[in-house]
Amino acid sequence: MKGQLSYIIKPITLVMIIVLLFLLYQSISETSAKEKEAQKNLNVVASTTDVLLILSNSYDCLAYRTNTESIYSNVLDLAKLEEFSKNYDAIEPECARSYEFGWRANVYEIGKNSLPTGANWSFGTKEFSTGAALKDSITLPIPVAIRRSEKTITPGKMEIKLVDGELEKIAGYIDWSCELGKRNRMTTSSFSVYIHGIISYDAPSNNLCLTPSGSNKKSCRQMVCQLDFAGLKSPGEHMLSLSYSNGRVAIA
């Protein structure tokens, strides 16, 4: 009887141990996935805050600077806003460009009734990754003052939409290689990228476009350098080699 009981209990114990170890493995995997997800969220939130602060506090961006070189934090110069709206309608300004994410900022003036007055300025990239190629996106505001003249400084808000996606990653890497090439710091590089769709390049408009799998709608980003690039015709992992020469980036 004792022996029979032992024959039953031992297999059950073994099965239970396997189940427990499986649960342990699953828990560790899940935790690891959550870690990665959290890490991404951290990067997106931190980058959004950083871009907002650079835009509103840096003289190279929108912060107003007096003739005596004093810089007014969070006071945006109207002339610079006009300039950014005009010159950076489809691309992020160099002063606050992120080579990992894409973003577009919208600055609007607020009236006494706490509603927008209608005066607004926007700049940055216009289109972002969509569908499976879109990893994360966030929109955050920051209060600002808009300096119209010495005696007219009005309240406003600057909102930024920051996107983490495959188009932004690949375009960011190419732009970064372009900038390094321009500075003669590195002319060749390579990287691997996974895409959920196909990548095409439109030379006349200098736009890099991503068409997500299962969709006909393209999202395009303006590039810094002209490219020699045939595009990526199939979804999946791709290894890209980049070389910079005379203001152009060749991608193979």
Binding site: I17, A38, N41, V45, L52, S56, N74, S114
Partner: protein, 427 residues
């Protein structure tokens, strides 16, 4: 049997250990990332609050073109949430200016601002209007000789006072060697000036113009201190009105505004029961301007009696061109009518002017006007407005919410010292 029990017991220990590990992994790893995410989100919120506070104090108020930092600095100097920029711009309520901007950026009920006001004695600016008829001959001498010294005493004691005396048109030539006019009668000082009111009349003439008046707009007579003080308030002192100062108006006369004559007829003095249309109109012009600009008026009534019982009316000596009507080059004017006859009515007018504007009416004790400086001294000494201890705006800070506090250094105007604005925000 024992062995089987030990086997089951061993399994239970293993199961508890594995479950414990799972719980610990979830608690520490996921928990720490959640906390980091919260910290990052909180960082953004703090930067948002900080950016808003920074930008708000640089924003400008529409009418004055001054930044909120300047306005709060002025309010801290004067100890008053309402800053008075004088005629033209008028009052600016600093709390209201903060409120709509903070509401727009953070939402109503999500913020509170406190700015402690330092203990400062603000400057005093005075505009004085002097009746220029001959009965003021004693007053002009007193003011000329003693007013600069009076102000110097205040300045020496730490109270910065400045005054501009406006003399109404006229210019009687007094036997005491003075004329009822500014030129060569008053020493020009950085803190004391004398100007003929005609010099500033162009700045206020349209405001004083009245339809149907046969004399047209502007200052009517050498005793028109109602329109005179209105004009002085509109034009301000020589230094111009400062938003940082306590502003006072003083009028000195022994008659009704525009003169005590009944219906402006020199032969009819102080007609009882009659309506003084012109005089009242002048009085009301002065009161209106003072009230609009929140400047209290302190009328000083010069009396025309020669003794303290006020039984005997005085005469006043003035120079004139020698001739049959001016033997010896001097003439003596009888102050019985209208001056002495109208003393009580003048007191009523002065009382009305003072009480309507927040000032106080004074009466001199003798015709020699020796105590006129004492009265002005009392007026300046009493000019100590009640100061608020601090500026408070927004909703009360909730005790059970997670709040963020940002401090901003605020330069207090003129004083060379700083105070701080404490801005609290919560979600």
């Amino acid at each position: 049997m024992k062995g089987q029990i030990f086997e089951i017991f061993g399994f239970l220990i293993l199961a508890i250990a594995v479950i414990g590990i799972i719980v610990l992994i979830r608690y520490f790893l996921v928990g720490s990332y959640s906390k980091t995410i919260m910290a990052m989100a909180e960082r953004h919120v703090y930067e948002e609050v900080h950016a808003g506070v920074n930008s708000i104090f640089f924003m400008t108020e529409e009418k004055s073109g001054r930044s909120l930092m300047e306005l709060v600095g002025i309010a801290a100097y004067t100890g008053n949430d309402t800053v008075n920029f004088g005629p033209g711009i008028g009052d600016i309520n600093v709390v209201k200016e903060l409120e709509w901007r903070m509401n727009a950026l953070y939402g109503k009920g999500h913020w509170h601002v406190t700015v402690p006001y330092p203990d400062i004695t603000p400057d005093v600016q005075i505009v004085m209007v002097l009746d220029a008829s001959a009965s003021m001959c004693y007053a002009v001498k007193e003011i000329s000789e003693r007013m600069p010294a009076l102000i110097e005493n205040f300045i020496a004691s730490g109270k910065k006072v400045s005054a501009t005396l406006y003399i109404l048109p006229g210019g009687a030539d007094c036997c005491n060697g003075y004329k009822l006019q500014c030129s060569n009668q008053f020493p020009e000082k950085s803190y004391f000036h004398c100007r003929q009111i005609e010099e500033i009349e162009s700045k206020c003439i349209t405001k004083l113009a009245r339809g149907g008046n046969q004399l047209g707009g502007g200052i009517q007579t050498d005793e028109d201190y109602g329109h005179g003080i209105a004009c002085a308030i509109e034009a301000g002192p020589v230094e111009e009105w400062s938003p940082l100062s306590i502003k006072l108006g003083i009028v000195i006369s022994d008659e009704l505004p525009e003169g005590s004559e009944c219906f402006m007829n020199a032969n009819l003095g102080c007609c009882p029961g009659q309506d003084y249309v012109e005089q009242r109109s002048s009085l009301e012009a002065g009161i209106k301007s003072a009230k609009e600009n929140k400047i209290p008026i302190f009328p000083i009534q010069q009396i025309d009696f020669t003794d303290s019982s006020r039984a005997q009316c005085a005469t006043i000596c003035q120079r004139c061109t020698p001739g049959p009507n001016c033997p010896g080059g001097v003439s003596y004017g009888d102050l019985t009518s209208p001056q002495c006859q109208c003393t009580d009515l003048v007191a009523q007018y002065h009382q009305e002017m003072a009480s309507s504007t927040g000032g106080k009416a004074f009466t001199l004790d003798s015709i020699s006007a020796t105590d006129i400086i004492d009265k002005i001294n009392q007026i300046i000494t009493g000019a100590n407005p009640v100061r608020k201890p601090n500026l408070e705006a927004g909703s009360p800070v909730p005790s059970l919410k997670n709040t963020r506090v940002v401090e901003v250094l605020i330069p207090v105007s003129v004083s060379g010292i700083y105070t701080k604005a404490y801005v609290t925000q919560w979600s």
